[in-house]
């Protein structure tokens, strides 16, 4: 297949089908340019050629039914064609290939979380093997989100209460940006993630690495990475300033005032509960709680808690 480098208008094509979509885009683009120049050119020419002169009257309008019908029917044929080709490409791109690898994508305010077929979960980062047909199964914990990867020309809303899917086959290795394209509240613009398209070996290796700290990192350092990838900093500051949720500076090991209950000691159990079941205890002053539950495996949780303890 033909692969173009990123152009002025469109990003790089990194998935199957992107080239076709771009082909349609440029087809309409050049059609539009020509049409626009013709129309506006004619307009400017007429304005200049038939500017008002003394004693020269406008010519009375004649009946032009044939012309009218011409410019009613010709576009009709054209748009029928456009509809046809674009719908064919759309259906082709939404059809999941036989035996596609299934990856779960969960949107929540305001982070993306991915779950591989092995059951390993990872926030904020998605590894995909190059050339392998993949099906992303989207879901949302709270409000509407939309999973959007410009390089794949793929977008689909994640709707609470319902599953939806994206079919894609990445074709070019590299690092690509994920956006949330459906407005979802305060940190909508911070709901980003990265897709890494890698070789099969690198993909397999990455899956191995997910559940243990990267070599050479302490649990706390790994916790920091997880904390950032999970989108936690969009709501919880680490410097004491107030964001959507309470700042986590110096929380670990201190008493926390709880709304509608006795104060609680922020020990390991408390922190664990706050991550897994955020609604269980809400710090006073934060009645409008917004945090969705997070799922981590034990080593990851330990790393997160280790990191939280370092925030002094």
């Amino acid at each position: 297949m033909r692969l173009d480098p990123p152009t002025f208008q469109l990003p790089i094509q990194a998935a199957e089908g992107a080239a076709e979509i771009d082909g349609l885009y440029y087809f309409v683009y050049w059609f539009s340019v020509i049409f626009f120049v013709a129309i506006v050119g004619a307009m400017f020419y007429f304005v200049w050629a038939y500017r008002r002169r003394k004693g020269v009257k406008a010519e009375p309008t004649k009946d032009l039914t044939k012309l009218e019908l011409f410019w009613t029917i010709t576009p009709l044929i054209f748009i029928t064609y456009l509809f046809h080709v674009s719908f064919a490409v759309y259906i082709k791109n939404s059809t999941v290939a036989e035996g596609a690898m299934e990856i779960r994508v969960r949107g929540k305010k305001w982070a993306w979380e991915f779950e591989y077929p092995t059951g390993s979960r990872e926030p904020g980062v998605l590894y995909l093997p190059v050339g392998k047909p993949t099906k992303l199964i989207l879901s949302s914990e709270d409000v509407l989100h939309s999973f959007y990867v410009p390089a794949f020309r793929a977008k689909r809303d994640a709707v609470p209460g319902v599953y939806s899917h994206i079919a894609l086959t990445p074709t070019v290795k590299g690092e690509y940006q994920v956006f949330c394209a459906e407005y979802c509240g305060t940190s909508h613009s911070g709901m980003l993630a990265k897709v890494y398209v890698v070789s099969e070996e690198e993909y397999a290796k990455h899956l191995d690495d997910i559940d243990k700290p990267p070599p050479g990192q302490t649990p706390a350092e790994w916790g920091k990475t997880l904390f950032e990838k999970s989108g936690c900093p969009t709501c919880h500051s680490r410097d004491g300033s107030r964001l959507v949720g309470p700042s986590l500076k110096g929380v670990a090991g201190t008493m926390q005032p709880i709304a509608g209950g006795p104060p609680a000691m922020a020990d390991e159990n408390y922190l664990r509960e706050s991550i897994l079941r955020p609604q269980a205890k809400i710090v006073e002053g934060y009645t409008q709680q917004q945090m969705p539950p997070f799922v981590f495996k034990e080593p990851q949780l330990d790393a997160m808690i280790a990191y939280l303890k370092t925030l002094k």
Binding site: Q9, R51, T61, L64, T65, S86, Y148, G185, H188
Partner: protein, 612 residues
Amino acid sequence: MATVATSPEHHDAHGDPNASFLDVAKGPMSWIVTLDHKRIGIMYLISVTVAFALGGIFALLVRAELFTAGKTLMDADTYNRMFSLHGVVMVFLFIIPSIPAAMGNIILPIQLGAKDVAFPRLNLMSLYIYIFGACFGLYSMVHGGVDTGWTFYTPYSSSDPACGQLTPCGPPGVGSPSAVIPMTLSAFIMGFSSILTGVNFLATIHKMRAPGITWRRLSLFTWSLYATSVIQILATPVLAITLLLLTMERFAGLGIFDARRGGDPGLFPHCVWFSSHPAVYIMIVPGMGVVSELIGTFSRRDIVGYMFIAMSSLGLALLGFLVWGHHLFVAGMSEYATMVFSALTFLVAIPSGVKIFNWVATLYKGSISLQTPMLWALGFIFLFTIGGLTGLFLGMLAVDVHLHDTYFVVAHFHYVMVGGTVMGFFGGLQDWWPKFTGKMYDEKKGVAGWALVFLGFNVTFLTQFVLGSRGMPRRYYDYLPEFQQLHQISTVGSWILGLGFLILFWNFAESLMKGPRAPRNPWGSAALEWQTPSPPPLFNFVKDPVVNRGPYEYHLATDAELDEGMADLDAELAKANGADPVKKTEPAKSEPAEKAEPAKSKGDEGDDEEKS
């Protein structure tokens, strides 16, 4: 325009029966309880202009915030409120009432040769409903604003995180903590203003036409208002009930739109867009009507394909109800529905194209004068063509998946809404300003304002097409560094745009205070509204008009009719320059006796029809 006195009533009531509607009564009370469609229109005009300024300030703040990535002026929550309020104010408070309710109110009855709209009291009531609704909107703005976007998508808008304080609900919602309920109520209430205006105009157009104004002699502006009324009556009530359901969903947890209560978040966009997509045509179709008027007036030529333009307005109105699903192409709609909606969406291109072709064809062999209103009309064609063509990208399903909810969409609908409606609005305002106020404005400032708006607009939004196709999603407070350059160009464009509007308003204010008095027909137009004094008398015409030709049949109009106004203008300008402003009101100018030969011209017209 030929007129004959058919009923001499009304001429005995006031001291001067032909005093302009502005002079016929004085004092604020005479405005508050007026039933005169022109005064109601003027009050609408003032309201929507204030709303436009307010929405414009929000827009400038949004653009300013985006000047740099990250925080520039405000935090994310404030930014979200800014763009939501920009949308809400511009859509509900400005664009929807702008051309129909404000300008249509003043011009429509005059173009029909009627004394008033069919239901003057209802007309006044619509205005007050609008203002009442706007008050709710203002209440919402000062009590936390709204951060849901103007479409109020559920469940973000419908689930209240403060839930449980008023009602015995379950876990708190995940949605917006802002003042959504007053804002939805505001739009709900203003909807009825729009509906009643539509009802009023529909009855007016059907039943209030002066003798001689056949369906083929309606102005195209009237045709566009006719189409608009149809949409207002059919679409707006659905928006009203949807917003009512949303309000109740947020207040009482109905479980219709919120998945956590067993509802379907996908139903809400259906309900909203079934009504709001036609509402998009409430916004653009009247603008097209204005442009048709301007093209006719300033090229002094009968509009090519009159019936095609008229019918394309109706066609847009009807198609508007069949295409709403294209807002849901990536929302998980059934594939069968996407297919139907994509196919129907493309059909919108036909009536839009027909209009553009006919306008350009009208210029051919016309007698074109490039006065300010005409510049707006040409700007409209330029920008609306871009807006329409970029619609093709979005109609194509496969391409839409990439472009949906990006800046491409933002640019597309601004090219239609601003490049279309706002251009039409200001074009119409500059065209009819002499008729509304009886004052002329400074042509140079008008042109300068137009040029800056046109330039600023393109700088602002052309860049956004590129931003969007490169993948920049809309409603983003923050963005990746690679988008910064384009965002900065766009923001600079918004400043030029704002400056242009400032000059325009300055020009209007100056015209009001010390503009030279406007003649009856400053543009030499053949349309009916220009055949009555500026500003018109209380009942619009000195004598009840009988019309014997269409509004664009320049070949049937006499020179006296067309040029008398121009001569008047020259005289007025000379007087103004001579520092001798005339104070007295325009004398009741009896219409010039004309030597038009209706019989013969009728024959010509008949011939034309037979030839076809």
